[in-house]
Amino acid sequence: MSDRRLLAGWGRTSPTSARLLPVGTAEDVSLAVQAAGPRGLVARGLGRSYGDAAQDAGGVVLDMTTLCRVHSFDHETGVVEADAGLSLHALMGMSLHEGWFVPVTPGTRFVTLGGAVAADIHGKNHHVDGSFGQHVLELSLVTADGGERRLSPADDLFWATVGGMGLTGVVTRVRLQLRAVETSRVTVDTERAADLDDVMDRMVRGDADYTYSVAWVDLLARGRATGRGVLTRGRHSRRDELPASADPLSFAPRASLRVPPIVPGGLLRRSTVAAFNEVWFRKAPRAARGQVQGLAGFFHPLDGVAGWNNVYGPRGFVQYQLVVPEKGVDAVRTAVTLLSAARTPSFLTVLKRFGPGNRGPLSFPMAGWTLALDLPTGVPGLAAVLDRLDELVLAAGGRVYLAKDARLPREHLPAMYPRLPEWRAVRDRVDPHHVFTSDLSRRLSL
């Protein structure tokens, strides 16, 4: 027991202790799976999921970040085959110079291929390109029997693994189709929108013209400005949009500021957040077209601030991300009004319009609207507000994102993920004794 460690998600709210076992090869994974004890085992990538998905109290957690070789990279086709512990950061560092970018990137580059598959992550391009699993050509999975299988999108186990939160097995390799780009820059249009309806209206009308689209929403603005926001939308810049002297494919993101390990009490109070939001809104141009930005600045602004999750202080924070189908759009309006009224200091509130979902029974995205919030746990009454949001989401036929969750009551899961029985049937076939267990699966009885 002495080699146990406390592990928590990026929100740092629910630490539990487990044996953390680094793995270097698929054989290591297989041996660990076969030796797993009664509390089971789960894989962990870079721990960027916010909740309790990548931890297993009392059990074994495989540290996948040491399984990170690139096996092949075809410069002509942009097909790469790499170990599941490789980060998108490392992958981009290698492929961008050759004109290939990742097909989907979340708001941070510090996620592994395995984590990207297991959460079936989405990016600002979901409305046109779908989620991560749709760009995976094949993957290797070590299942409960210790065997390694090669899976393609023709297999139902492939789709149970995409979005399966590590509960079908351990992904050891991923074969991925990258995206061709002429430059490492993005050409961005920015617009301020006066209120939530204005934000949504602009998205409905204009998103099709952009590869990437997202809106930041100010939850502390009230009255007529409720839900005011800033839209940023863009596409990969063409070579001819850069000065002739520029290196079109340069990529050297800066790692700058560092937040100290624990900020006493946290820096984020409602007043700070309100002031920040005001500045952010005012700073955004009323309308700006065709600004050329670096990829890191556009996709991963927070990666420039190492350890930024510490600004929330020792008690951490929760993320709440919901999606509702198009016809349930009123739930987003109600949610924003509710959160504004409750004066919850959400600092990063992001609204996006999703395209259609995919075959993964537990994959999060569905055609409609997604809203993501960051909330410090200390806010009085927060639990009741989020319980209320669950009800709204359920009534609208939507769901919350498991990669960000550590609080959803388990009774809501079947309604939010109606294809749960289909997923369970596949999982129970390959892992009848539930060797793959996490705090998330225990909490939600997955």
């Binding site: 027991m1 146990r4 406390l6 929100g11 709210t13 629910s14 630490p15 539990t16 202790s17 487990a18 509390r39 909740g51 309790d52 297993d56 109290a57 009392g58 059990g59 020792p314 008690r315 951490g316 929760v318 746990t377 200390g378 927060l382 639990a383 989020l386 319980d387 550590a406 609080r407 009551p409 388990r410 009774e411 705090d439 225990r442 909490r443």
Partner: protein, 251 residues
């Protein structure tokens, strides 16, 4: 599992009919679905508590438990954890014992010691081992301000709580980094069954107020909580009062 906002899915109450313990269970149950294991001496009160919680929506299991039967503790704790992880365990059993009688009747004195201290150490260790193995959990130990400085009027009870308090505080330190959190609760005079025959002391409180303080302290990972909070300062003053003076206080 404990949610990110401090809501457990299961609670084990040792001293299943304790008013303070049940007030803690009630508060959690009001906020979400809950599995409750009540361990206690079979009685109408225990049965009534189980029925009331089930009616309020809890999944309830009752386990017979007599704290003074130390040898039964191992099996009890195994059974309590057999139905799944225990997120919060509340060590609430205890007896006040009449000081004057106990000074004359050794058997009563030893029962107070056995219940409040020896049994609490035994169950406390067993529960903490089970929680260490499951890699998470919170253990709430009901100590008392009576343990902070012994008083003439109830030093026997006070001495058992002093021992329990020291044990639980040390246990909490030994579990740092294990995922298991021990909270030592030091209530003052709580108006309820245990104290109904007594005149309420100054700064008296209620089981509900103790429950509110316990939930808040668990959420913020505190290791000690006084109820009411002001007692912390009162007791730190009383602790340093010269003995002759302290003896003369009407406590």
């Amino acid at each position: 599992m404990m949610s990110s906002l401090g809501q457990p899915q299961s609670v084990l109450l040792l001293g299943g009919s304790s008013e303070i313990g049940l007030a803690i269970v009630d508060r959690y149950l009001a906020a979400g679905a809950l599995r409750v294991v009540l361990a206690g001496r079979p009685s109408d009160r225990l049965t009534a508590a189980a029925e009331r919680l089930a009616t309020a929506g809890a999944t309830v299991e009752v386990l017979p438990f007599d704290a003074t039967e130390l040898r039964s503790h191992g099996e009890l704790v195994t059974r309590a954890f057999a139905g799944g992880d225990i997120d919060v365990a509340v060590l609430a059993f205890g007896v006040l014992g009449d000081q004057a009688t106990a000074e004359r009747e050794l058997a009563l004195a030893m029962e107070v010691v056995q219940t409040n201290y020896a049994a609490a150490v035994s169950v406390g260790l067993l529960v903490s081992q089970a929680m260490r193995a499951q890699g998470h959990g919170a253990l709430v130990v009901l100590s008392s301000v009576a343990g902070e400085r012994p008083r003439r009027s109830n030093f026997l009870y006070g001495s058992t709580k002093a021992g329990l308090d020291a044990f639980a505080t040390g246990l909490g330190d030994s579990l740092l980094g294990s995922g298991v959190h021990v909270l030592v609760v030091r209530p003052g005079f709580v108006r309820g069954r245990m104290t109904e025959h007594l005149e309420p002391a100054p700064l008296s409180t209620t089981p509900e107020a103790v429950a509110v303080a316990v939930l808040a302290a668990l959420r913020s990972q505190k290791q000690t909580v006084w109820v009411p909070g002001s007692l912390r300062f009162v007791m730190s003053a009383l602790r340093h009062l010269p003995r002759p003076l302290f003896r003369r206080l009407p406590l």
